[in-house]
Amino acid sequence: MEELVLTQPSRAAESEWARETERAAVRREFEERLAECGTLAYRVAYGVLRNSADAEDVAQEALLRAFRRFDRLRDRNRFRGWLVRISFRLALDRGRSAKRREQRETSWAQPVPAPTTEELAASSEFQTRLASAVDALPEKMRLVLLLSAMEGHTLEEVAVILGVPLGTAKSRLFFARKQLAEKLPCHVTSSKKL
């Protein structure tokens, strides 16, 4: 049997109208930030995933999630940092699940065919090594490294985005670069010899 409820249409309409107005205002404010921050969300995701389609999916999801929770964000000036963290976290999750899926599939897969000459020419050994070295960095360091390389952000801006002191951002970047250098020394030595 259908459940019936008593309601006061006029009051319900008033509150509905107020809610709609509020939603419209939130949406307007969010859209103002969208053009500015959509790129950032994509690039953070791309920095982690290095795949355009996956990064786009993650950026979309991050932006929609940010929109759904936008009214809960007390300090709207911290939107960029908040969005960066959402994108980064979603991208990490997606990267992990992709890795797991890849592991599952490779146990059944046929031997991979040898790359063509064009593929070999297009691939850069250093980029590949660098990418895997970046993946191996601790999350906090990785995020600072990506943000500092992105869109010409200064370290001060990175610190503001992440809501950490400048010194913390500096030390994270320093140790991130140091760790990368420890994993990639031979490449530069060999390229210099050439």
């Binding site: 008593l6 006061q8 053009a35 355009s52 869109e151 670069r177």
Partner: protein
Amino acid sequence: MPCDQFQEALSDLACAAAEPRGDLRAHLDACAPCRIAFERERLLFASIDSGVRQLTNADVPASLLPAIRAHLAKPSQTRHGSGTASWIYAAAAAAAALFLLALPFFHPRTPAVETAAQPEIRQSPEQKIPALQAAATPSIVASRSAEPKRKLHSGGSSQFAQNHEPEVLVPAEEREALAKFVSAVVERQNLAAALIHPASSANPEGLAIDPLNIAQLEVKSLEEKALDGSARRD
């Protein structure tokens, strides 16, 4: 001075992209192997920076922002408060279940409890009709007809009784739709007026309708028609 002492400091300096000063500068000027090593370190970090920039500054697909805007433009019900709404429903369902479970402990099984548990059986036929109408059709049922049913809804009915706003009985899932409809009606005053005051048919003075003009017809009886037909055949 042995070069080992400077190695770590020079590496840190290259990592921080800073210029050597003081003792370090003097050592580099004097020691060619350290200078070469330092240059290599700087080259390595420059390559890392350039590589990371390549990794991160990818071109943003043009479809990204339009896709987001399209998602935002979708009806708000799918996006807005979907999480909170589900929590509210879940909480309401849990509260109702708890209430139903706790009911037998507070009241021993008496006829009164049976009335609460099976309201339809105890209702008189006059009371049942509005409820059945409401269940059968999704339309709004007038509040007066729902008056006897209020006693069955223990939660919130006292609040409703206190104020004089009109109340209606609707299926639970249509409450929000009703609110939206009423809010739309409030915004469109003409529509509201049209709904409340339907056009009256008792005032035809204002209407001017031209009488139908029918051309002159030749009217014949059937017998004459039959005679005409036979004459043509002969």
